[in-house]
């Protein structure tokens, strides 16, 4: 099918079967054992340091990334941390856990990558959204690791389509770009399936906490609520990440922001300015460790 040749006034349909997508999700590889174990440890309120350090040390590549980050200029302790245990002491268990997860998911993202998405831009946006979500969560005393994880994975549903149905993914992307529409509007118009829902399926398959899967499902439509939710956090974090324009795509655009979510988060102009600076700074540091040699310049 070549949707680009379709008349502009007609909306072509692209066959993406929900059952087939559900099967795709079930066929995804599990997360590495070490990541599952670390996730489990992070959920505990009194995680013993030794358990965490011992589990992390089972994966040498992850351990190296953790040490790189702990020794980065961001923490002002350049080249003084030589062990995973020291890194835990410096960074704190929860922060370290999220970084380990991010490093592990880098590998998973690359396995899922298909043809249509620009994976580097996708990855940079995901990291930026994760950092933004964590910083917003911190302002509200919310679960920072959960916010970081949800931000990192908020668009993973797009990766699923890109990986398993690359021609359809390319057609959706081309249709959106030709009309300068947000991707989610194009996928809704063409397939009736939303990547937020697919992302929820993926994260349920990977046994992430319901708080995280719900936030991913609602990141485009956080809905009405009286209390701030993790979906609010990821929704606004996504908007800030687009606004900061760090993905490096010409077609970047700030999306519409849900008024209710913004008001629940009570972000002022001054507070937003502080957030933007903090997000950009932390993004550059994290990007340098997670994607060495691929930082923006």
């Amino acid at each position: 099918m070549n949707v680009l040749q379709a008349p502009a006034q007609r909306t072509p349909s692209i066959a993406l079967d929900r059952e087939a997508l559900a099967r795709d999700v079930r066929s995804l590889p599990s997360l590495p054992t070490v990541v599952v174990q670390l996730q489990s440890l992070m959920q505990q309120t009194d995680t013993p340091l030794d358990s965490f350090a011992n589990t992390l040390q089972l994966d040498q590549a992850l351990s190296v990334k953790v040490l790189q980050l702990a020794n980065s200029p961001f923490y002002g302790l350049c080249n003084r941390i030589g062990s995973v245990r020291d890194a835990i002491n410096v960074l704190g268990l929860r922060q370290l856990g999220t970084l380990v997860l991010a490093a592990a998911l880098t590998v998973q993202f690359e396995k899922l990558h298909g043809k249509a998405l620009h994976i580097e831009a996708f990855w940079r946006h995901s990291i930026c959204c994760a950092v933004a979500a964590r910083q917003i969560a911190r302002l509200h005393g919310m679960n920072e690791p959960a916010a970081f994880t949800a931000g990192l994975l908020h668009d993973v549903g797009r990766l699923l389509v890109d990986s398993r149905h690359p021609e359809e993914a390319a057609a959706i992307l081309a249709w959106a770009e030709a009309r300068d529409l947000p991707y989610f509007e194009a996928e809704q118009a063409l397939t009736g399936i939303h990547h937020a829902e697919l992302g929820q399926w993926v994260c349920q398959h990977w046994h992430f906490a319901p708080e995280i899967t719900d936030a991913i499902a609602g990141h485009h439509q956080p809905g009405a609520a009286t209390q701030v939710s993790l979906a609010d956090v990821v929704h606004v974090a996504d908007a800030l990440a687009h606004a900061l324009d760090l993905a490096g795509l010409h077609s970047e655009a700030v999306p519409a922001v849900d008024r209710g979510a913004w008001q629940r988060l009570a972000l002022t102009e001054q507070g937003t300015a502080v957030l933007l600076r903090g997000i950009e700074e932390e993004f550059q540091q994290l990007q340098a460790v997670l994607r060495p040699g691929k930082e923006t310049t």
């Binding site: 620009h118 992307l173 300068d180 687009h242 010409h250 655009a253 700030v254 008024r259 972000l267 937003t272």
Partner: protein, 99 residues
């Protein structure tokens, strides 16, 4: 088949708007958030080809400002009611573009 290869990445440090086949048209209806921010500023024109401003870097009026052009480009899809003014003002200040 039209090529679907990803577009080249833009260097962030020097934000620019590169007109091309995917260059967007301003919103067909309604006022864009960029144009609503100010009627006498860099953000006043959503056009990516004629944007001019007085920037925080001290450029003279009439000098095309890539940062202002890029910001207008970023806000091209949303109307003023779709994006919090706090966010927009904070972003313009963050990029050193006068409101």
């Amino acid at each position: 088949m039209t090529s679907l290869a990803p577009a080249p990445l833009l260097p962030h440090a020097t934000p620019t708007v590169a007109p091309g086949p995917m260059a967007p048209a301003p919103a067909a209806a309604g006022q864009t958030a960029a144009s609503a921010l100010s009627t006498s500023s860099a953000a006043s024109a959503a056009s990516t080809t004629s944007n001019v401003s007085t920037t925080a870097t001290g450029d003279a009026p009439g000098t095309p400002d890539p940062a202002a052009q890029r910001l207008a480009h970023l806000f091209r899809r949303v109307s003023a009611s779709q994006v919090p003014p706090e966010l927009q003002r904070a972003l313009y200040a963050h990029r050193g573009v006068a409101p």
